[in-house]
Symmetry: C2
Subunit: 169 residues, 2 copies
DNA sequence: TAGAGCATGTAATATGTTACATGATTCC
DNA sequence: GGAATCATGTAACATATTACATGCTCTA
């Protein structure tokens, strides 16, 4: 449902066609969930069947025709319902990256440290990327600020853990 | 794959049957990913087919017989491969709960604040739960420490945001 | 004797990813 | 002339959840 909430939210502020949406989704590294191209198309199709959105066929010159989606009245109602649910509850986050942590001790300390150091760099890269987002965009996009905050605290934590592993050695 | 890594990791330290595993999974609120009962059974079945684990049928008294799973040599090799991958890379976390943040402004400020306040309490509850885990368990379970750290920083952030929304009013 | 616990699973459904298909247009 | 871009999607597969089925045992 969160993916539909995301789509409805975007479409409410600007009517868009699928391709355009995908560009938004791909180029912003600041998304809190994954949404792939083909899945976005499928979800748009589903929401259209359910009457949450409608589209009008549009064509610019001889370009392939495209479907510009607009949220219907029912869709808008659904959006508000989903939004309220999403804000008040706390759908549990998934941290696949944390699964290995419980088993670090299965590896020799130096190797574990080296691997985590690699990870630190990967996280650092993502953090930097979010760091370059201009302030005026940050203000209207709380999720980016959220992720920025998350990756920052992640980096701190990783440093602590790496350090702890090393000094225990 | 992370779920299989999780299962292999658990089974390497103690051979277990499915039911026992599920008890571990359910009662520890400190898991970084979701793993439901029927999915665990299915994954065990798959891993058995792939030769990563074997089981021996066991029976206590007249209780329903159970399958005690043990990791094979191949399974162990897979475990180490998955563990190295998991530690060095950083599979992106999913934050379904953050999706709504970008759209808070679609609601009247007071309502948004009230909803987020509700969320804060939900997060607080989870945090408290992790907070009661005794230190000796924390030490051998980095993921719990990880989640504890995460929910803590989440609470701080929520407080800041709620405050910001209110004072902008 | 009724209900909770033990122990396994299946069937139906939902959700999501990957790779592929199409065919025009624009840019180099 | 060839590659990238525009724009849509489908088919096959992978993954996961929900609800249900079974049948025994132990406890109140």
């Amino acid at each position: 449902m969160e993916k539909k909430l995301l789509l409805l939210g975007y479409l409410l502020s600007h009517s868009m066609h699928g391709y355009q949406l995908n560009q938004v989704l791909q180029h912003s590294a600041g998304l809190p969930i994954t949404l792939t191209k083909s899945n976005a198309y499928k979800l748009l199709g589903n929401m259209e069947t359910d009457g949450w959105v409608t589209y009008r066929e549009e064509q610019e010159g001889n370009r392939p025709s495209r479907r510009v989606y607009t949220v219907t009245k029912e869709g808008k109602a659904v959006f508000y319902r989903l939004l309220r649910e999403n804000l008040s509850a706390c759908p549990t986050p998934e941290f696949p990256a944390a699964v290995g942590l419980d088993f670090v001790h299965a590896l020799p300390v130096e190797e574990a440290v080296a691997l985590l150091e690699q990870r630190r760099q990967a996280v650092e890269a993502r953090f930097q990327q979010l760091d370059t987002v201009p302030d005026e965009i940050l203000q209207s996009h709380l999720t980016i600020e959220y992720l920025h905050h998350y990756y920052g605290s992640e980096l701190e934590w990783l440093a602590v853990i790496i350090d702890r592993l090393q000094t225990k050695d």
